[in-house]
């Protein structure tokens, strides 16, 4: 056990900070053209991604030809921390960089890597992940979108929903049913689909917080024709690849949740004293106690994350990380709820941006995006109960 990182890790951190100081996008650039959707790539983000790729800072753990520098997992951790501290998004297309590009590198043909993965990594394109459907959210294996092989082409019909960034993406990593006659999870394939293919219709779903920033979409597929060469990996092996794809980000996904919570906590601790001073002594004591409890959660989330990460580095597996997804997103939800109550009627002012400041109702509403998406908290609890605790399936 160690409280501090080794000197070599701190040296790596300093090297990145020096690079970042020279190459970071400015606050003005980011504010003038914000990343309004998870596949919208503003010019400043495209330039920044390209610089990171060229200098080996895009995915430090990868080899140089893929935008990395063969860094270890602990180095990657401090790299992500520093980006977060600097309030710079590592990418404005998280599914593209985090899931789709690495999956293509693992399973794609040389042509697919050249034409789809590399442009993503160089910040030239953005991609969306076509998984969820109206009847296949938590139960992904139930997806119905059909791809039928007709000669050298797939003909695809169906509908996707909750597709982040489909309104700006260049292509979709599309999960389709290619064999309806086998057990549900055995007949799924992944097909690369340019979003401008005839038959593709995208309808943005505006979110609860404000209609200004649509990120989620419905995607309708009517007789979409794509060449068979767009198949990723083996036919009907999409389920296994999906599990592999999601694992790419899973080892670090806790960190995003924890850092989000820490940012919110930091903001609350700055704003709270002035609000507390205006309260009666008994009210203040209750509010301070609640915030202290959330502070315990914040530190606990980091400790749990670090411990699970150490376990992952050592053994290559830490199934309890499902816990971190649920925990870190739920405590942030609790925090924004407590903060909104502390801010009283001021929490009802709107127009503080997509996520709002911590004491706004908007901030609280936004948190549901993370407790529902990418496997709801309830699904995470099932995973823990069955895979970690060994409780029997119903």
């Amino acid at each position: 056990m160690k409280l501090r990182f080794d000197d070599s890790v701190e040296e790596f951190r300093r090297e990145f900070l020096d690079w970042l100081a020279v190459n970071r996008p400015t606050d003005e650039e980011m504010a003038a053209d914000p990343a309004v959707s998870s596949a919208y790539v503003p010019d400043w983000a495209a330039r920044f991604t390209r610089r990171m790729f060229d200098d080996g800072w895009l995915v430090p753990g990868w080899p140089p030809e893929r935008g990395g520098r063969n860094a270890g997992p602990i180095e990657t951790l401090v790299y992500l921390e520093e980006l977060n501290k600097a309030e710079i998004p590592r990418t404005t297309n998280p599914q593209g960089l985090g899931i789709i590009a690495p999956s293509l590198l693992d399973f794609g043909t040389p042509e697919q890597i050249e034409n789809y993965a590399m442009p993503l990594l160089r910040g030239e394109t953005a991609a969306c992940l076509g998984m969820s459907e109206p009847d296949a959210g938590s139960d992904l294996a139930n997806l119905k979108t059909r791809a039928v092989l007709d000669g050298d082409d797939f003909v695809i019909n169906g509908q996707k929903v909750w597709t982040s960034g489909a309104n700006y993406a260049d292509f979709c990593f599309l999960f389709c049913r290619t064999d309806p006659d086998v057990p549900k999870h055995k007949g799924i394939s992944i097909i690369l689909m340019p979003m401008d293919t005839p038959g593709v219709t995208v309808r943005p779903l505006t979110e609860i917080v404000s209609p200004e920033f649509p990120d989620l979409n419905e995607v309708f597929l009517d007789d979409v024709v794509l060449p068979a060469s767009n198949l990723v990996g083996e036919m009907n092996n999409g389920w296994a690849m999906a599990n592999g794809s999601l694992a790419h980000e899973r080892s670090m996904v806790w960190l995003m949740g924890v850092m989000g919570m820490e940012s919110s906590m930091h903001e609350l601790l700055e704003l709270a004293p002035a609000r507390l001073a205006a309260l009666s002594a008994p009210e203040r004591a209750v509010a301070a106690d609640e915030i202290a409890g959330l502070y315990v959660d914040t530190i606990a989330a980091r400790c749990l994350g670090y411990r699970g990460f150490a376990r992952f580095v050592k053994t290559g597996s830490a199934p309890e990380q499902a816990l971190m997804k649920a925990y870190s997103t739920e405590i942030r939800q609790d925090l924004t709820q407590v903060a909104a109550e502390l801010f009283g009627p001021d929490s009802l002012r709107s127009g503080t941006g997509r996520h709002g400041s911590v004491g706004s109702l908007e901030a609280y509403l936004t948190t549901f995006g993370s407790t529902i998406s990418a496997g709801s908290s309830e699904i995470q609890r099932n995973i823990i109960a069955e895979r970690v605790l060994g409780l029997p399936r119903a």
């Binding site: 004293p273 411990r307 823990i384 029997p392 399936r393």
Partner: protein, 367 residues
């Protein structure tokens, strides 16, 4: 930053666990509860294994391990609901002697030859401000007067390290058992050997002179006591979790194990989180103490507060999910449950530690 136990630490934990499983099954705990046995035999074995001196420097006669190892010993003692003075020794009395730099008493304590207890808190408060017991110089020595309640291992201790207020501030004094009136009343968990210690002009020797040095030493010892008690509580909760999980896998209702019901699965996931959460911050705090890091003050409050959250959930769910059988004396669950609840009542409650934390975060807000 690495918050995972090392291989050596895991090995030590497994060793402690297997010794306790052999020598201190819940049937032994039951016999002590029912007045048919004492903790003496177990204590002798612990002394033979050098457990009292686990965290004591080698040149003072100890094993030279860190407070992290003390923490894992405390956790395993909680997991076993082990009776006897060891927890008080390693987490309260010995850290006090280490702060004082008293080599003679420390060596005797580390060797298990002298059983001592810390008499610090009054009215359940672990702060220097709360010390009302007085110390007055008398000739070459001192006399102390006052009452310390709920002294851990007070029922069996031969000597007490007493925090008492002198004209120059609070100091720490050693009082032999025969100079004090030790009142042992029935308690919910006899294994903790809690006692009230009443001092009426009790003859005392100076351990740490009144003033800032003693304040600082007491603060450090309070952190050690809180963190070890937090991990002790987590240990009891972990065992509650384990036995409840086993029960849910075996107990069949409506032709299915009750653990297959989603309503219960989610509660088990929450219990698991509560235990892991409190465990992780407990070791974080133990490590901060071991490394004498500035984070230790805040971390100790966090560890004890999280242990409070943990026991609240685990005691409730552990009993509720066992159903009627868990409500009986015949079932062993209540020994663990009472140990977990005792852990909350000792070394500062969840509310106390959250209030301390709020103050340190600037949320006390002077009006």
């Amino acid at each position: 930053m690495d918050l995972e136990l090392s291989d050596d630490q895991f090995a030590l934990r497994d060793n402690i666990r297997s010794v306790l499983e052999g020598s201190c099954p819940l049937s032994v705990v039951r016999a002590i509860y029912e007045g048919e046995a004492t903790s003496a035999a177990l204590w002798s074995q612990m002394v033979e294994l050098y457990w009292p001196g686990l965290g004591v420097e080698e040149d003072a006669g100890g094993l030279g391990l860190s407070f992290v190892e003390v923490g894992l010993l405390a956790e395993e003692l909680g997991r076993a609901a082990a009776p006897g003075p060891l927890l008080a020794m390693v987490s309260q009395f010995i850290p006090m002697l280490q702060q004082a730099g008293d080599a003679t008493v420390l060596a005797a304590a580390a060797a298990g030859e002298r059983v001592g207890a810390l008499a610090y808190a009054e009215g359940g408060r672990w702060e220097v401000d709360a010390v009302a017991t007085t110390a007055v110089q008398a000739g070459d020595g001192w006399v102390v007067s006052g009452t310390k309640d709920a002294v851990l291992a007070g029922a069996t201790a031969e000597v007490f390290a007493v925090a008492a207020r002198a004209p120059d501030g609070v100091g720490v004094f050693l009082v032999e058992r025969d100079a004090a009136a030790v009142e042992v009343g029935p308690r919910i968990d006899p294994g903790l050997e809690l006692a009230d210690v009443v001092l009426a002009d009790a003859t005392a020797t100076l351990l740490i002179a009144p003033g800032p040095d003693a304040d600082a030493a007491l603060a450090v010892v309070a952190q050690c006591a809180s963190v070890a008690m937090a991990l002790h509580t987590v240990g009891a909760c972990r065992r509650i979790f384990e036995v409840t999980l086993e029960y849910a896998k075996e107990r069949v209702q409506y032709d299915k194990p009750i653990g297959s019901f989603q309503a219960l699965k989610h509660r088990f996931a929450d219990m698991y989180l509560a235990v892991e959460r409190a465990n992780a911050v407990g070791y974080y705090a133990a490590l901060a103490i071991a490394e004498d890091d500035d984070a230790r003050i805040e971390a100790a409050h966090i560890a004890k507060a999280a242990a409070g959250d943990c026991q609240r959930l685990l005691a409730h769910e552990g009993l509720q999910l066992h159903g009627g059988i868990g409500f009986t004396w015949e079932h062993d669950l209540h020994f663990l449950l009472k140990r977990a609840k005792s852990g909350e009542a000792l070394c500062g409650s969840r509310g106390f530690h959250r209030a301390q934390l709020a103050a340190s975060l600037g949320l006390g807000v002077a009006a």
